[in-house]
């Protein structure tokens, strides 16, 4: 029994069957990559996990609890965090505030009427936030406005925002998309470090095979809305079905 169980999930948009009969199990404390050509349904699947979309059929359970019908913030409160393709951060706020907000959410829940408590008096939260910034080596930038960060820093900030909540499951949607090689490597190192230090499960959607093979312990190949193969990285390389699915698109 994995930490995340996806059973028979199907999703239809008008005439397009985006997902059909998806079965997937993500084991605890592993890095599980989902790959597949464009339009294979990777993002749709991810959106079904976080509550942005509701699948037409099937079930999604996280630690035995069904995620269906829950709103994104409820799913997050269960311990699922998400990193977006383009970093989604609070651009108008400072770096420190960006990290403090998830701390509050983690401690106080989805809504807390704390309009008269000063942020300054929340020393615990601040310490925790500064700690995580130090972990991702961004502490010296804590007073910068997030919108003025470089793209790589924004990505790290987003990671920090997710990690500060101690998620059990981290969903990563193409975390290195559009990055230069050096930044990609930094991200890989960062993710490896996270994995080594914490009890955390990761599910990665990724195009870049270099990233996938550097990190993943299990790989699921998705094509036309259905899982084609699920294997270890070693076995995926050169798998005929995968080759077929990509038609040589990816550098397998």
């Amino acid at each position: 029994m994995g930490i995340l169980e996806i059973k028979n999930v199907g999703k239809r948009f008008g005439g397009l069957q985006a997902l059909s009969d998806v079965n997937l199990s993500v084991a605890e404390n592993t890095v599980h990559a989902i790959i597949g050509p464009n339009g294979a349904g990777k993002s749709t699947l991810l959106n079904c996990l976080v509550g942005k979309l509701i699948p037409d059929t099937g079930s999604v359970t996280f630690q035995g609890q069904s995620l269906l019908g829950r709103k994104p913030h409820e799913i997050n409160q269960l311990g699922v965090s998400r990193v977006f393709q383009t970093p989604e951060i609070f651009a108008d706020l400072t770096v420190l505030e960006n990290v403090m907000i998830p701390c509050f959410a983690h401690r106080d829940g989805a809504f807390q009427m704390n309009a008269l408590r000063g942020v300054r008096s929340e020393t615990d939260i601040r310490q925790k936030a500064e700690q995580i910034l130090e972990d991702v080596s961004m502490l010296e930038k804590e007073n910068m406005q997030a919108s003025s960060l470089s793209r790589g820093d924004k990505r790290r900030l987003e990671m920090a925002m997710c990690l500060v909540q101690d998620p059990k499951l981290l969903l990563l949607d193409e975390p290195t998309a559009g990055m230069a090689r050096a930044d990609t490597n930094n991200t890989i190192d960062l993710l490896k470090e996270i994995k080594d230090k914490r009890d955390i499960t990761m599910a990665i959607i990724e195009h870049d095979m270099h990233v996938v093979f550097s990190l993943a312990e299990r790989i699921t190949v998705l094509a036309q809305g259905t899982p084609l193969v699920e294997e270890t990285p070693e076995n995926i390389k050169g798998h005929p079905k995968v080759r077929e699915a990509y038609l040589g698109e990816a550098q397998v």
């Binding site: 998400r82 809504f111 942020v119």
Partner: protein, 402 residues
């Protein structure tokens, strides 16, 4: 002090000093001088400054922090006013219950309107709030006449006998605070200067200061941070495990209660309510106050409110006869020319001046009056680059492209 940082405490004390010394500051010209026309230190206008300041502070909590632009806030002001005057008509002439009732009524109405309107965002939200306010206005003006008094509004009458006040028959009640009449004033004459210290003004001013203090606390609280997060990125907020709806609704209700406080104060200062208080132009006015002063800054909306009310009350009272008085020392030809030049901008032309001012400020001072203040400040302390005041952070946060 007061659980605020030094910077905020300074700001609060500064605003407190300004409001408490307003009778001096607003009456800088001797009574008999030609410039006395520009004195604003009389009770009615001072009361209006702080009342509309309160209104704008509350509006800014919603608009400045969450970015939700309500175009129907005047409805809460109106509902607060109606609640307050009914309290005075029925229960007691003491202003405290009336003001509290105003806040409660406005809060409840804001809860209803907010609950429905906040299902949409952006301009769709604006139009929903506008629609509610316009409906309130139209109904108050017409079919709700038995409750609202319709066009002629509600005033205290000789026939009103509040339960807890023992009025002589035929006596018209007066708003008071434990016996202190809202209208009573202490007048100080120093040379040619006259300063009026009005009881009502100080009560309204204290309400505004409390409101301002609470607003600082909200700005600096985790709650305020969440509201700014709503404005910045609602998607990330949801994926961070936060439910943005209760935050925005809470902000909406809080700002509605500020509007109700302002409405209750208006009734307490001047026992009269009319439905035009809820017309869309009144809602637009508070939006303009906030933008004019500096959206998202603490003090900006208060400055904006002061500016608009000053123009409305002082400029509109200048007439040609007064212009002639001013320029009487000039040769006749030049006097008439000057009068002719100024004529379109004063008296009935005060709207024109206001419109031009809006344009000039938004063109040259994108951050509103607060930015203007900062620019002046910067001239004085060029070198001191790191002296970023509290306010400049907020002003800077207004990113160019949305």
């Amino acid at each position: 002090m007061f659980g605020l940082s030094t910077k905020d405490t300074t700001l609060l004390l500064f605003v407190a000093a300004l409001t408490l010394l307003a009778p001096f500051l607003l009456n800088p010209f001797p009574e008999n001088s030609a410039m006395a026309q520009f004195n604003a230190g009389y009770p009615d206008l001072m009361q209006r400054f702080v009342i509309f300041g309160t209104f704008a502070i509350g509006f800014n909590i919603l608009f400045g922090l969450t970015g939700y632009l309500s175009f129907g806030h005047a409805a809460f002001l109106g509902v607060g006013s109606y609640g307050a005057i009914w309290m005075m008509k029925l229960l007691t002439l003491n202003v405290i219950p009336a003001i509290i009732m105003g806040v409660i009524f406005a809060g409840l109405f804001a809860l209803l309107v907010g609950y429905i309107s906040l299902r949409r965002s952006g301009i769709y939200f604006s139009i929903l709030t506008l629609a509610f306010a316009q409906m309130s206005y139209a109904l108050a003006y017409s079919v709700l006449t038995p409750i609202t008094g319709g066009e002629t509004g509600l005033q205290l009458k000789a026939t009103d006998t509040p339960l807890l006040s023992n009025l002589a028959p035929g006596e018209i009640g007066r708003a008071n605070l434990f016996g202190v009449d809202m209208r009573s004033s202490y007048e100080l004459v120093i040379g040619d200067w006259l300063f009026t210290f009005n009881a009502g003004y100080y009560i309204a001013a204290v309400c505004m200061l409390i409101g301002f203090y609470i607003s600082i606390r909200i700005f600096r609280s985790p709650f305020g941070m969440m509201l700014r997060a709503v404005k910045s990125n609602q998607q990330r907020m949801n994926y961070t495990g936060l439910n943005s709806k209760p935050y925005t609704l809470a902000a909406f209700v809080i700002s509605g209660m500020y509007a109700g406080l302002a409405g209750g104060l208006m009734v307490a200062m001047d026992t009269q309510v009319g439905p035009e208080r809820m017309f869309w132009t009144a809602s637009g006015e508070v939006v303009l106050m906030a933008i004019l002063g500096g959206v998202g800054t603490l003090i900006g909306p208060v400055l904006g409110a002061g500016m608009i009310k000053y123009m409305e009350n002082i400029l509109s009272k200048i007439n040609d006869a007064i212009l002639h008085q001013w320029f009487a020392f000039m040769p006749d030809g030049i006097e008439n020319l000057l009068v002719a030049i100024f004529h379109p901008f004063i008296g009935k032309g005060w709207h024109l001046t206001l419109g031009m001012l809006f344009m000039l400020i938004v063109i040259f001072l994108p951050g509103g009056l607060v930015e203007g203040g900062q620019r002046i400040g910067r001239i004085f302390r060029r070198r001191d680059r790191k002296a970023d005041s509290v306010e400049s952070d907020a002003a800077k946060q207004r990113k160019p492209a949305e």
